[in-house]
């Protein structure tokens, strides 16, 4: 899903420009990398989610203005995201801003690579065995404790920790593939 040829992507963009309901395909294709990019630059989940939503709303609203100039569609989305983060950071109260948010408009290739790596971890979660996946989502997205998860899944805490460990190993594997490949 994350890999499409340039020609396919151009077709998808043109389709969405003519029929906005086709935007869903572009969203599916780019959600993880944009979320990953933002999550590396702001402090918490709520902010990341708000900014991610903002980026895709902006992209949808301005889609007709997008012109293919050789750079991939993701570069356009990254630019919207970078601007959104910069705007957001400017609006933060000084106090809250005392811990600087790592924002660089002049993103380097390595920034994008890091985002891509995080995005590939997100995608890899989808391929985990169901029980491992459930543990990862509850632990990292819902921020539940091992005890809470154990109760919810009707498993022992030891079993949950075991699932967490296996899941991490699996994710590490996919991530190394990406990182090295």
């Amino acid at each position: 899903m994350n890999q499409v040829t340039e020609a396919d992507e151009r077709l998808l963009i043109e389709a969405a420009q003519q029929d906005p309901s086709r935007f869903a395909e572009l969203y599916a294709l780019h959600f993880h990398r944009i979320y990953a990019y933002i999550s590396r630059r702001v402090r918490n989940r709520d902010e990341t989610q708000d900014l991610t939503a903002h980026v895709f709303q902006q992209a949808l609203a301005n889609l007709e203005k997008f012109k293919w100039r050789g750079a991939p569609f993701s570069a356009w989305l990254y630019r919207i995201a970078a601007n959104a983060i910069a705007d957001y950071t400017r609006k933060l109260p000084r106090e809250a801003n005392s811990e600087p948010v790592a924002v660089s408009i002049a993103d380097t290739e390595s920034n994008f690579d890091e985002s891509e790596r995080r995005a590939s971890v997100y995608r890899a979660i989808e391929s985990l065995p169901d029980d491992q996946k459930r543990v990862i989502v509850m632990r990292f997205a819902d921020e539940k404790s091992i005890r809470e998860i154990a109760v919810a899944l009707g498993r022992s805490e030891g079993a949950v920790k075991q699932l967490q460990f296996r899941a991490m190993e699996n994710l590490r594997g996919s991530f190394s593939e990406k990182a090295n490949g």
Partner: protein, 471 residues
């Protein structure tokens, strides 16, 4: 510490990192250290439903911004709503004349119609009686309608014939038009004008514009003497000079020209208001007294002066139901003067209506209308009739003038007259008049006074001096 299982080590690490603290990795198993990189990537993992929620949100945005949802005006159907005086009669007329189908009516017990709907072709015409309290006023109350209604029909000629039989009047003859339709205009008895058109050939917009441009080019000066309209009465009486005196005294006429006519009598030209009247004749010459509908500023005053100048009253000035105050006189030379004052400027009644209008009383006005139409391209602009062929009153446009007529109702009412008629091409008009049933009196001839004239007597004994100024 080392006894702790890898599972526990990892979970402690996770707990520390989720709390936003930096873990101490120095004593951890190398595998756990490696996995710490994965933990770092998993911080702030989106909520389980976030991906779907945002997807739904975007879908809603798309739906909200789709064209139908925008606050743009959306019109489903356009129809016309007319107000008439006597809607019930109007419905009958539209059914008869246009083949309209009555779909519904809301009527008061008196029959007054609050709302009715007719289907005409594929369209709906909505109609009501007058309700002044709601601003619903008919053309009669408003003095006309600025809106014309357009009927696209299969055959404009047949359609117009049927409408005329039902009581419509042809206000512009059905003719081939530059824009590719055969079209004309009908006036219904309720004051609305209907354009009736059938398509006969395709014309591009560019071609239409070209034709249209040619209309707005400055036209050649009309081939007539200055100050003259198309129609001028030529009154011939033996006492011509007395008549000139009479119109001066009674109606404030100004004599602009006097000479000896071609037959040896007097030839005089007088102006009354913005119209010219030619007066001629002399002892022993054939008399052609004329009936004139004359608009004057003050009918009572003019009436008195005419009586003082020797005229006989036919009827005293009185307010007429058609909106004029008028009286009638006969002058000592035998001409009848229907004099009138209106509160409305003449050009609002009809753009070509003038101070002096000839009034014909032929045995059958319809025959004269037919002759004028065929001979001079005249067009009927109004009529009041009995419905079975008798015409009480009609107005016909010839060139830039209007003449009036009504069937003669008694012996001697007909006053066959002479008319000086300016046309663009005297030879063509002369030929056309003969074809229409006229008799030649004098073929087109260049006259010493600068006009080329051809004389034609119509079947009703009026003589038409058809003229074009050539020098």
């Amino acid at each position: 510490m080392a006894e702790r299982s890898l599972n526990d080590q990892l979970d402690d690490l996770v707990t520390t990192m989720l709390a936003g603290r930096r873990p101490d990795l120095s004593n951890e198993d190398p595998l756990v250290v490696q996995l710490s990189e994965v933990v770092e990537e998993l911080r702030n993992l989106p909520s389980a439903d976030f991906y779907e929620r945002l997807k739904e949100e975007l879908t809603r945005s798309i739906e909200m911004s789709s064209p139908v949802q925008k606050l743009e005006p959306v019109v489903r159907r356009f129809s016309t709503y007319i107000c008439v005086s006597n809607a019930s009669a109007a419905i009958d007329f539209y059914v008869d004349a246009f083949g309209a189908k009555e779909l519904m009516r809301l009527a008061e017990p008196s029959g007054k119609i609050g709302h009715a709907e007719l289907q005409i072709g594929e369209s709906i015409l909505k109609i009501s009686d007058e309700y002044p309290e709601y601003g619903a006023l008919s053309p009669q109350s408003l003095g006309g309608s600025p809106v014309k209604l357009h009927l696209q029909v299969d055959n404009a000629d047949d359609f117009a014939r049927r409408a005329v039989a039902a009581g419509a009047i042809i206000s512009r003859p059905i003719e081939d038009q530059f824009y590719g339709d055969r079209a004309g205009q009908l006036r219904d008895p309720f004051g609305y004008t209907w354009i009736v058109a059938s398509h006969i050939r395709d014309v591009s917009i560019a071609e239409m514009q070209e034709q249209f441009d040619s209309f707005s080019k400055p036209k050649q000066a009309p081939a007539r003497r200055e100050g003259y309209h198309s129609v001028t009465p030529y009154i011939t009486v033996q006492k011509a000079s007395e008549l000139v005196e009479f119109v001066k005294q009674a109606f404030g006429a100004t004599e602009t020209f006097r000479t000896t006519g071609s037959a040896g009598g007097l030839h005089s030209e007088v102006r009354i208001g913005e119209s010219m009247v030619m007066i001629g004749g002399g002892p022993g010459m054939t008399e052609r007294p004329t009936a004139i509908h004359l608009y004057v500023p003050d009918v009572d005053d003019a009436f008195q002066r005419a009586v003082d100048a020797g005229a006989t009253a036919l009827f005293e000035p009185a307010d007429q139901p058609y909106g004029e105050r008028s009286g009638a006189l006969q002058d000592p030379m035998g001409n009848r003067w229907y004099i009138a004052t209106t509160t409305v400027p003449l050009n609002q009644i009809d753009k070509d209506l003038r101070t002096v209008t000839i009034y014909f009383h032929p045995p059958k006005a319809q025959d004269l209308i037919d002759f004028l139409t065929n001979a001079f391209g005249a067009e009927e602009i109004m009529r009041s009739d009995s419905g079975d062929g008798a015409i009480y009153h009609a107005k016909v446009r010839i060139g830039d003038s209007v003449v009036e007529m009504g069937d003669a109702r008694y012996e001697g009412q007909a006053l066959p007259t002479a008319i000086y008629l300016y046309v663009d091409d005297v030879d063509a008009a002369y030929q056309q008049a003969l074809k229409a049933g006229g008799t030649s009196v004098l073929p087109p001839t260049d006259q010493p006074y600068g006009d080329r004239t051809g004389w034609v007597q119509d079947p009703f004994d009026n003589v038409w001096y058809i003229a074009t100024t050539i020098a």
